[in-house]
């Protein structure tokens, strides 16, 4: 069965919307933030811990699983859910972004067939094509697969971006034509960089292919925040109301709020777990660095209003000690906290949508949230 998007409520003062996405592994409310489990595990965490923080859906990376352990191993295990013991919905990306960002020495050769590049693990030459990406995802048996797109850096010329959008459309058709998994939905990706007419054209042409959902790509590739928000504004009006919209690779709290206001339903980012491994924690007053000496004898939780396992049972002083002593239980506690922070954020945003007060919520949030780390 394919996913189904059900609209619950639209905010009267913005494009924000509260919906439910029904999948074969349960339904979850949107807007949602998806923790990233790159290599079939959300770094340091168990599936039970993901449930405890009310994580509803996770993302896993096709590129990484293709290289290790290989999609055939995952298929023989009975698919990604069984392989990693996760019975909630899983979205897989196409590998496109990784090919462009992780290829050894960042060298790659984009041809009509696909992308030639070298493995970031052992340097061996590889070719990823739109068909292969979909075939791998079919075998991984995720609930939502993504089309293989070209993800150009920022900025590129208008002429380059136009050709790239054309190629991404051809690749989207090729991928869809080999898609062969009745339990897996397939999303199309809108590209077009900062060029409003290309975003419109990319969105309209992609929608014609009738995907199960749409994502906005080409963000978080070096552009400033204002440009990113503009990219969303230039894409959303051309996407259908009855399908979910996904902003890829975005996990900054303010970006999530701005995205929701602009009509985005789904977000993902490695940010919260990566920050955790570097001893950073989200708080309502901005990010803090637990390695800071001022926390050495701070016997209060990271955030006393937070309901996560880390905040209920551990102090900043203890977590600081763990991080200074390079104990992975510290990263685990911070991963739990940072993910829960973003999931609470989307929970509050859904409540604000129901009350038609998302814009007020943003104002309130911004009053205490400083972008400077302390």
């Amino acid at each position: 069965m394919k996913i189904k998007y059900e609209l619950k409520h639209k905010d009267q003062n913005s494009k924000a919307r509260h919906g439910i996405l029904h999948t074969n592994y349960g339904s979850f409310e949107t807007p949602i933030f998806m923790p990233v489990g790159t290599q079939a595990t959300v770094k340091t965490l168990s599936p039970e811990e993901l449930k405890e923080i009310h994580s509803a859906v996770i993302l896993s990376n096709t590129y990484h699983l293709w290289l290790r352990p290989g999609e055939d191993v995952v298929a023989k295990a009975g698919g990604l859910h069984k392989f990693m013991n996760y019975d909630g919905p899983i979205l897989t990306d196409s590998g496109g972004f990784q090919v462009f960002s992780l290829a050894k020495n960042k060298k790659k050769d984009i041809v009509e067939e696909g992308v030639h590049f070298k493995s970031h693990l052992d340097g061996r030459p590889l070719l990823l094509t739109p068909e292969l990406s979909i075939q791998i995802q079919n075998k991984l048996d995720s609930d939502i697969a993504m089309s293989f797109d070209e993800c150009p850096p920022y900025p590129v010329t208008y002429e380059y971006m136009k050709q790239s959008v054309e190629r991404t459309l051809r690749w989207a058709k090729r991928g869809a034509s080999v898609h062969n998994n009745p339990n897996q939905s397939l999303f199309g990706i809108v590209q077009g960089g900062e060029f409003a007419d290309l975003r419109k054209w990319s969105a309209e042409e992609t929608v014609k292919l009738n995907f199960d959902g749409y994502s906005i790509g080409g963000t978080s590739v070096g552009e400033d925040k204002k440009t990113m928000y503009q990219m969303i504004d230039d894409s959303i009006p051309y996407l259908p109301e009855d399908k979910p919209r996904y902003l890829m690779g975005v996990g900054d709290p303010i970006d999530i709020i701005e995205g929701v206001i602009r009509g985005i339903d789904m977000f993902d980012c490695v940010h919260p777990t990566r920050l955790a491994r570097h001893a950073h924690a989200f708080t309502r007053h901005g990010k803090i660095n637990l390695k800071n000496a001022k926390y050495k004898e701070d016997f209060t939780p990271i955030d006393d209003s937070c309901d996560c396992y880390a905040c209920k049972h551990y102090t900043k002083a203890y977590i600081r000690h763990l991080m200074v002593a390079e104990e992975t239980f510290g990263s685990r506690l911070l991963s739990i906290h940072n993910l829960r922070f973003l999931i609470r954020l989307v929970e509050e945003l859904r409540e604000a949508i129901d009350q038609d007060r998302v814009l007020e919520y943003k104002e309130e949030f911004m009053k205490t949230y400083y972008t400077k780390e302390s």
Copy 2:
């Protein structure tokens, strides 16, 4: 309140004994294996996970906590239990072994006052004395503290060992004289190397000081197995029946069985968690290396008779993938399994003691347990 040892049953065919140790943080049955939480955390695991594997008591290292975060930070947090959110009994070692094994460049200067050495973290000069070790442990507020002893390498001359045993006795008295924590019990340590008369003398003189329990030190320092078992045999007869006996740093399954047969009640070792980080798992057929290619498509648990979380939910293929991909969730699953393996072993040994069949249990265990890794 001090700990209290209650004898439940003695095996009729060996020196093995089944008892209960009552502490301020609950009672636990002996023989017991204690997971090691060197830096106030059992590597990769939560306190809840320790309870789930029926871990009853853990060990933490005075030397490490002295250097980081410092015993005063732990004291200000309300002691080690509160600092690390662990409400079960905790034993701290004296730091003696670490000073001898971890000192930078292994250089140290043993004088009557204590041991001069350099920090393994930053090379700064340090002096650990019998009094300081006890004072640190008093502040850590563990349930059981250990006397600061000299732990000579193997082998040393009879003359050296005799002088060392004398010094360890003087140090034991000095430590006991400053011990000042009514809720903390204090153990003495029997030394004497492989010299039977020195073991006897060390045991008798240490027992005269009336400690709350006794440990057998100077094992696992390079001697062969037969010599280690002999060291136990040469010490146990001189230890009182009404106090617990602890064999330090021993965690090999066969050594635990041999120790229990010789009258040991408590064991600890970093072995199970260290093996886990190197992708090794205990099984009833010996240790296996999960990185071995033969497990790539092995969709069975590590041990299908094991009741641990890892064996109930994950396959060798998945854990292998995690370890190859350097995901810490793999070490976590293997740590859970390896610790549970040793805790099940002591559970079974206790049952065998009650049935006066410890020697038969050993025979049965050895039938399938190969010391060679596969």
